[in-house]
Amino acid sequence: MTDDTGLNLFQQQEANRRRTIWLVIAFVLFFAWLGFGGDFAYWLATSDAAPETYHHTFPWFGLVMTAIGAGIARYGFVTGPNKVLWSTGAVKLEDPQTDKERQLVNVVEEMAIAAGIPRPDIWIVPDSDPNAFATGLDQGHSHIAVTQGLLDICSRDELQAVVAHELGHVKNLDVRLMTTLAALVGAVALMHDGVGRLLSSGGRLGGGSRGGKGKGGGIVVIVVLVLWVISWILAPIIAQFLAMAVSRKREYLADAMGAQFTRNPMALATALTKIESADAPTTSIKRGAAHLCIADPLGRRANLREGGLSDLFATHPPMAARIARLKGMAYQRLKAEGQFPAA
């Protein structure tokens, strides 16, 4: 893990974007291998067979898998935002009554201007634990929800910082990215079982064709097949791990975007400190929306420290690391303005 605390906010954005791209490429390659690896092995196995027997030239298995994955992703897209909002019991804020609610509306509008996106719909979750999340498919149709607890404990600047973080997610189309990855993880898990059945028949066919010409081809078939089977056994874990790695990078990126919109990284740092010290799980936000929140609503211990196996499956980076990076941005900013001696 590289240390990003020495970078200013634009450099941090750049670094996080680059890492996401590599992770998504790895995800796509892994998914393609799961889908088309079997076709490849089957093709290798049948390529030497007698002309009148079956030749596996059309990669139907990979295509079926891609179609199922795309179907689940599409379904997640269309129903996702409403489902998430409904499951948290959020109430749409249309006619603000209290001073705090008016402030929230103003802050959201200010940040929408800073981000250059249309104003999202505003929702309030009746939960006393401070948290916030954003959802929506594109910049034009987005929703931002904050809990009552967040409204109660945050100052205007801190509220602004939290909203800016969420609009960072909206601006980066993180909701779309994470929904897609979650759907692919789901598709992998779903097909995990079905593949077991397919493998046995594939193995039989592979064995039957080995009576053909070269022995070398047979060894390649076995190696590819074994690698593919091992990939499938580990698939749910690896897919989940890749998706969570993307999620953590997007959190850092949203922090840096939020700092760009407010130009006040310290406000987000103090807001995160307050959210952290509240230390209770946000009971009304379920696991499915965890990756959209500003802080892990489940309060899982994995988010507390960096490194170790538990870190691989956290949706959010450790709070201390996020706060350290934000303070780094604030320091770089003061240094650039000449208010600090160069370190």
Partner: protein, 195 residues
């Protein structure tokens, strides 16, 4: 074979050119839009001030001069904005800066009278005022961020080769025109009576 490779390379170059051209055009429009957004927010402030003045007029008889300064600055800003030509940008900027200064003086005055803050909707209006000032500065910041992105794209290789075709020209950043605003405020914490 050589011909095919050449054709593929040519195709890739053309595709890249199209995407670079479209990227520049979209950034240009975003920059224009961000600039208009500043106007929208300035207009919003002009509309808000009469309400604000009405709300506090009765309670603020003792601070008439502050209130009058706000009204005057507002009217000047409105008229400067109304007949703004392309070269009147400086005038508009100066008028708006004066209004900003008058409003911040007003805010300081309101803070001095707790009973005023407590009466009716003054605190609500103050929140509106804070938000309006924020919107204006965020609109400017948003414009500067977009314009910087646009300028960088124009200068970077290889997009710079398509800047001429896309009729892209460097966008000017919003800067503080008033030297007084740039100065770091002097805060005296020594508690000594001023000589």
């Amino acid at each position: 074979m050589g011909g095919v490779i050449l054709l593929i390379i040519l195709g890739v170059v053309v595709l890249y050119g199209i995407s670079a051209y479209n990227g520049l055009v979209s950034l240009k429009n975003q920059t224009l839009n961000a600039f208009k957004q500043i106007d929208v927010q300035l207009k919003r402030r002009h509309d808000l001030i009469p309400n604000l003045v009405n709300a506090v007029k009765g309670a603020m008889d003792f601070e008439k001069s502050t209130l009058e300064a706000v009204i005057q600055a507002r009217n000047q800003a409105v008229s400067a904005g109304a007949n703004a030509g392309p070269d009147a940008m400086k005038q508009v900027g100066a008028a708006e800066n004066q209004l900003t200064a008058a409003l911040s003086r007003f805010n300081v005055v309101v803070e001095q009278y707790p009973q005023l803050k407590a009466t009716g909707n003054v605190s609500q209006l103050q929140e509106e005022l804070t938000s309006t000032e924020n919107r204006i500065s965020f609109a400017r910041q948003g414009y500067n961020d977009t314009a910087t992105q646009y300028n960088t794209k124009q200068q970077q290789f290889p997009t710079n080769m398509f800047a001429g075709i896309a009729k892209a020209s460097p966008a000017e950043l919003w800067e503080i025109t008033d030297e007084g605003e740039r100065a770091v405020p002097q805060v005296d914490l020594s508690m000594k009576p001023r000589a």
